[in-house]
Amino acid sequence: MGNILVLAEHRQGVLRDVSFEMMAVAPKLADQMGAEVVALLIGSEMDGLAQKMAAYGVKVLVVDDPLFKDFNADKYQKVLSALIDDLKPAVLMTGHTAQGVDFMPALAVEKKLPLVADAVSLEFAGGVLKATRQLYSGKANAVMAFKPAETYLLTFREGTVEAPDASAGGSVEKLDSPLKEDLSYRKFVGYVEAEVGDVDITQSEILVAVGRGLKEDKNLPLIEELAKAIKADIAGSRAATDAGWIPHDRQVGTSGKAVKPKLYIAMGISGAFQHVAGMKGAKTVVAINKDPEAPIFAVADYAIVDDMFKVVPKLTEKLKELKG
């Protein structure tokens, strides 16, 4: 049986959390499969990052070349394609991230290998690898079974498990780069940093957040009044920022900001994992949603199943009264 090859993700010189989280997932799978976990780094000047991955007690393979100074999906695909041929891993796992989703599907097609994307748990039993993933707004789970294949491809969801403590016994080995020259048809140009706004919601003590349930921007004053009554800043789900109701720099979630207020009041927000990833650092969470099955309730401390438009005006009034 081949190894479980885990691609460690990094950006702008820093390893991404998902790289460490996969160090919790992969060893369990390795035990079940009777395989070993091997981490893989592709980049330029990777010594420091390689040591950090080795601290999880695994062998780290490194493709270190100036050609990989910046992320490039096509270059990654070429390297991984060659390494699949050479190393014949049983599993190749990456994060289900902006990087992972940019080359894993193409790699699967190229190599004619099976792919399950966005896995949240894995199990190998009776010779079959199974991956569980979510669908329908997180209200259903699907168990996907892989048919037997040389290599199983997986992208694993970020923020699903805790990273383990580091252990001893790791090692680092450099590999020859399979890529000998630069690509002409896809060029990395640069990064553009996220916009900065008037309020930095990562520093807010209290956040009142709205989602698609707000329906239209003419309902905003209702929320603004509540926010004013408790000196909160206003934030939103992606649906609310995409719609232009809330400024983009106030979007909470994976593609927005990670916030950690004392109090987070989520209204008309379903609680998609990309949103929850950004607000689970909140100390106390209040959720108001008319759907009793909304996933947001799983992370709430106080829950109201109701129409926000019926609850919020009275809530504001009462808060004003109590606070004098």
């Binding site: 599907p105 789970n141 892989f146 606070k323």
Partner: protein
Amino acid sequence: MKMFVCIKYVPDTSEAEVKVNPDGVSVDSSRFSFDINDADNYAVEESVLIKEANEGDITVLSIGPKQSDVMIRMAMAKGCDRAVRIEDERIAGYDPLMVAKVLGGAVKGQEFDLVLTGCMASDDWHMTTGVALAEELGVNHVSMVKKVEILDGKKVKAYRELEGGLMEVVEVELPVVLTIQTGINEPRYAPIRGIREAQKKELKVANLDDLGIDAAEVNADASLVVLEQLYIPQVESSAEFIEGEPDVKAEKLASILVKGGLV
């Protein structure tokens, strides 16, 4: 610019109860309301914007049932020129790699500069189809695109949205598949005139045989994965559910917040 835009008819499950059918691998969709996938709606708008700025021609591709014709007509009302709806029960629709192969089969043999898809379908969340489609077609791709500039008709400069709102800017040569992220533009409402004109535009319905796609390459046997089981996960909530009429709930919550020193 010759363009294809791939769109999917999806259920809105954000407020609906989801139940698994007795077969254990499908959900009861009889009470869902369906519409265009959120990200695909932005992809349609982007294709129309590109057509308006550069001239061009847009073909809509969708795999789906007859009911989705309303969605397809709406895309044509906004400016897409024609459509092909693919309907065939043999397609292993749970595997995005099979879906990509079908879409690829529908495009192959025709000239194109751009194929646009949504970056994710809101029902099954794979984020796989568009990038797989690019490989099927043997062309470049950029995924999760939040901004596009067409450079001199030969290249695109695309801004990919990464975690934390950081953007990665890349330049790729045409033809290219772009998977579009929500928020890239402001999808328009279809103008009345467009709605009338859309009725006259061509909407071809095709099955795999019509497209010259071998069903044995895109069916459940061809797929390398099996959808073994669907189930409703137990939502474990440790929340205190506040009960009563809306006013009562509001009052209770207000006093909890104030007494708990939370506000």
